[in-house]
Symmetry: C2
Subunit: 357 residues, 2 copies
């Protein structure tokens, strides 16, 4: 349903309609010009050929240094989504399962099913501010569990997993021989400090992306930090699928890393302003939601709402949101991605509040 | 072995060694500047966001018009390799098989095995100039055959499948309920006219790429022309894997299509000169090979050669070739990709001839 809304929104735009798109985690902020210029320079310098399926050496080295790992642990991927899909494809056999705290990013579920694995969801609740209940998590793990997926800060709740819970989950995984796949694509722009899986050792999997930190969603570049043997398997899979991320894109990204803190700080501050506006409008309308710890999302609840119908109807009023059902069993919820400026946030959310049944 | 040679060649270059790389189908010609400039302009115009998993509408429309199909039949993919892998992933069940005239591009074999299917090779022979023997092809097809892969012009032989044989294969496939996947990435720069699968109706699959026609190997953009329902399945798979090809890359490609004939003519002519030089040097050394109908490759035979050992030893002399074993059961053969200028072709092939055991 998430992707259907997205494609329909694009269709409406192609017909010339104006849509305020709260439906996708794709900010309106431009990719910083230094990244664009560096990519252009690299193109002109001929970085337009096949390159290593592992990624450009310089970029891998830089990321290895940032994360305190070896370059052999770093694999550049065509977006973090490709990292996640390829890891599931490589690690999950048919009939095995993956445990996912929910609400969860749609792609975890679709990718797991696509490779023949069973996604098992730990249903969360708004009342606890979406805290992961580790005791309940235990109950979902069996001998066919291969992965636990953590996503902190979370899409769609924007909540950060606290250090204690994170540690408990890692410990649980290790005691049961399960790998944690930690998707940390919002961590660098989080409002509050977010722990990384690498803070708990190197036996697990970090997946990250430049999409959110550098406003590079459409560039399709991410990476994984994994143990060396798995890195080799990912590289071999890249060789027969995506081949490589265009080298000029990697050089653009490398330029971004030079001023990573500044770029991330700017983006974070803009999202903080947007979140403040959104929180005010939604509170005024009496909606319930957890205060976001990070960009990009709010995940409000409206009692009795059919969010799929609501999302489709709302499109006709020029506002796109993602229905809660895209993130699990959350029909009364919807996800707002704060990907437009404060004024548009206000305008779009006021339209949304008026449209509520 | 192909990718091992490639990664080792990159390693040696990173150490500062000069390598004449005949090992990869990656020409030294730069991507035409109008494509680079159009991509840059698109970046600056903000075409850096998530875009449709089907591809940009304008590019799909242009390709639909070129091929005389509907826009709904065209799916833009992160390289033709991703198109092929995703089609195999979607169409082949474990235990099913795909029939591939050989020698064949390595990726067909690796991709088929990776999705749990059995690749069945129709061994060709140099004496017949690598003609596909349709009667022998029949013998490989059974009730578990889902695909026949055609690659005309061929990697690694650069031979074109003649119209009569092409038609017979399509007819055979249809009589047995098998789909032809026709990989035509070298067709636009072929020295001799090459038939397209679309000349035989729209029930099969065309895979194509801009890598060779526009010297865009590292940009990772290709496409498939398939029936609409399959197109939808490919788009859905893109949504949970590669997401989209960066829109600015698609706009660069669109610019290339405006002067497609001129760009392709230029590239074809350069390859013709290179092929002429290579043919002379190799003939002088007494090597046997079929005269190429198209860029990029020659696939010579040396009686008694262990091409894997030869390829590894040759790397130390600064020349990279692909051993014949990368393309099937062809240990006495190796593949030369004419991806450097005439002088380098001469220099590299003379070094190669000296190194022959």
């Amino acid at each position: 349903m998430l992707y259907e809304i997205s494609e329909k929104a694009i269709q409406l735009e192609n017909q010339g309609k104006k849509i305020i798109k709260f439906n996708l985690g794709d900010t309106d902020m431009p990719t910083p010009p230094e990244i664009v210029e560096a990519a252009y320079l690299a193109m002109k310098q001929g970085k337009t050929k096949y390159s290593s399926a592992a990624g450009e050496k310089k970029l891998r080295e830089e990321l290895a240094s940032i994360h305190g790992v070896s370059v052999d642990n770093v694999v550049i991927t065509a977006g973090s989504k490709w990292a996640i899909f390829s890891l599931m494809f490589l690690l999950l056999k048919k009939g095995e399962n993956v445990v996912v705290p929910s609400p969860h990013w749609t792609s975890y579920e679709l990718a797991a099913r696509k490779v023949g694995a069973e996604p098992r969801f730990l249903k969360g609740d708004l009342e606890s501010e979406w805290r992961i209940d580790v005791e309940k998590l235990v109950g979902l793990i069996d001998e066919k569990t291969r992965l636990i997926i953590l996503n902190s800060p979370s899409n769609p709740t924007s909540k950060v997993v606290d250090e204690k819970t994170f540690g408990e989950i890692v410990q649980l995984a290790e005691s049961r021989g399960v790998t944690v796949l930690s998707d940390e694509v919002y961590a660098d722009i989080s409002f509050v400090p977010a722990k990384s899986i690498l803070d708990f050792g190197e036996d697990h999997i970090l997946v990250n992306s430049f999409s959110k930190t550098f406003a590079m969603t459409g560039w399709r570049i991410g990476y994984a930090v994994v143990e060396e043997e798995l890195a080799q398997r990912m590289i071999k899979l890249n060789q027969i699928t995506t081949t490589c991320v265009p080298a000029f894109i990697q050089y653009g990204t490398l330029k971004g890393l030079e001023s990573k803190r500044k770029i991330a700080d700017d983006i974070r501050e803009q999202f903080r302003l947007r979140a403040d506006v959104a929180i005010k409008v939604l509170r005024k309308a009496g909606m319930k939601f957890a205060r976001p710890d990070a960009p990009f999302y709010l995940f409000p609840k409206v009692e009795g709402l059919d969010s799929e119908r609501f999302a489709l109807d709302l499109l006709d009023r020029g506002v796109a949101v993602a229905p809660g059902t895209a993130f699990g069993d959350y029909r009364e919820y919807f996800r707002i991605a704060l990907t437009v400026g404060e004024e548009k946030v206000r305008e779009g959310l006021e339209t949304l509040c008026e449209a509520l049944p």
